[in-house]
Symmetry: C2
Subunit: 239 residues, 2 copies
């Protein structure tokens, strides 16, 4: 069975967004225009747009059109309040370890698949701060499979997820997290500039992606004294 027509239109539009043909803030073709272009009815055009809407790629405005939205930055991931709100101003990110090949660690926060363990592992580590305070040490592991050239290229806008999306067309589809309160070990204490034995929030995450062979494993060590970790969820649409 062939892919449904609305999924085809959906994919065409999504690619257009990801590749920048439709830029953030701009409008997609109107529903009637999509009907004419692709010889479909409005039901089908709307179904395609509905998918993009559900996934947060667009927002609709009655009487105006479908506008390309800023992709949710955090994808439901816990984000440091300052990061999303100060938007770059007083926020800094520095690499402790640039992406490089490593053997898989034995204490990965979630068990990896055999397939993953059979291929090489890319690791990178960053330190994130707000103003003059280091607030988060971020460690990331993932399989190098299908990510040719990743070690050589730079990050798009300094964002790992944006890089995956724009260079490799990989989207984050889900995550599994575990939260712990720990005493800071020496390495964390020195990086985050806190006393050893300070309470530290550790967030272990497994991100699943649109590539079934690729998961991202991360450990975030957070100093929550000045900047607690915040996030938001909305379950129901507001009509």
């Amino acid at each position: 069975m062939s892919e449904s027509r609305y999924r085809q239109i959906y994919s065409i539009l999504k690619s257009g967004i990801q590749q920048g043909s439709y830029k953030i803030g701009n409008f997609l073709p109107s529903e009637h225009e999509l009907c004419r272009t692709y010889k479909i009815t409005r039901t089908t055009a709307r179904k395609a747009l509905d998918e993009l809407l559900k996934e947060g790629f667009i927002e609709k405005e009655h009487g105006k059109g479908s506008r390309v939205k800023e992709r949710r930055q955090s994808l439901g991931l816990l984000t440091v309040k300052g990061f999303s709100e100060a938007v770059g101003e007083n926020v800094h990110t520095t690499f402790i370890q640039k992406p490089s090949l490593m053997s898989w660690p034995s204490d990965l926060p979630f068990p990896a698949s055999e397939n993953e363990l059979d291929s090489k592992c890319i690791y990178f580590e960053r330190l994130r701060g707000v103003q003059d305070t280091a607030v988060m040490r971020e460690c990331n592991w993932f399989s190098a499979q299908g990510l040719d050239g990743f070690l050589e290229g730079d990050f798009v806008d300094g964002s790992f997820f944006k890089t995956l999306s724009q260079k490799y067309f990989i989207e984050i589809t889900g995550s599994e997290q575990e939260l712990r309160a720990l005493y800071a070990d020496e390495e964390c204490a020195s990086l985050l500039k806190v006393d050893p034995q300070s309470p530290i929030l550790c967030i272990s995450i497994k991100f699943t992606t649109s590539n079934p062979l690729l998961n991202i494993y991360s450990n975030l060590y957070c100093n929550t004294e000045k900047y607690p970790i915040g996030n938001r969820y909305y379950y129901l649409p507001f009509n």
Copy 2:
């Protein structure tokens, strides 16, 4: 302008689910049957079902029908792994403080609206454990407005959210959270049976509900030593 037809059908079905006319695991009337019953077309019937699907009330099976689903227990809230997986077996919840009227605390985790502060405040506190370990102290505050009889009634199945849904038809629509790692204070240390100065995970939550005047404010103090706090998100539908 009157409410759209599909919203009407949606509300009828949702009430049926909430009041138990359609029980968990049973099928709703088929799409064609809804068409006949309410004199609508399948487009409209499907739109109503789509809403229920999005909100997690039902799941659809091709060739079979729309089945009433167990409502997501945690509503995106971080849940203790043991709680969801052991499902009642080794899990226990005890009241430290039964629901009762109080004045609003000055250190509410999120600022409440004037409207809320003008009405009475209901507070209750519970201790949650897995096997013989106390893992979470849960403190809850919310306005008594519109919750007549709340202090007298028991919780439905021991669940606060189920009680709100089934007795007052109030659904959780979103949440805002802040995470902190803290040293245990004396009260927490004694309740959770850990050493004072142990690292404790504090989750502050503001739940918004389908009643714009009602928010739930909670503080969860978690001992994550044995049981880290886990949760899952899925962003994209799996087709």
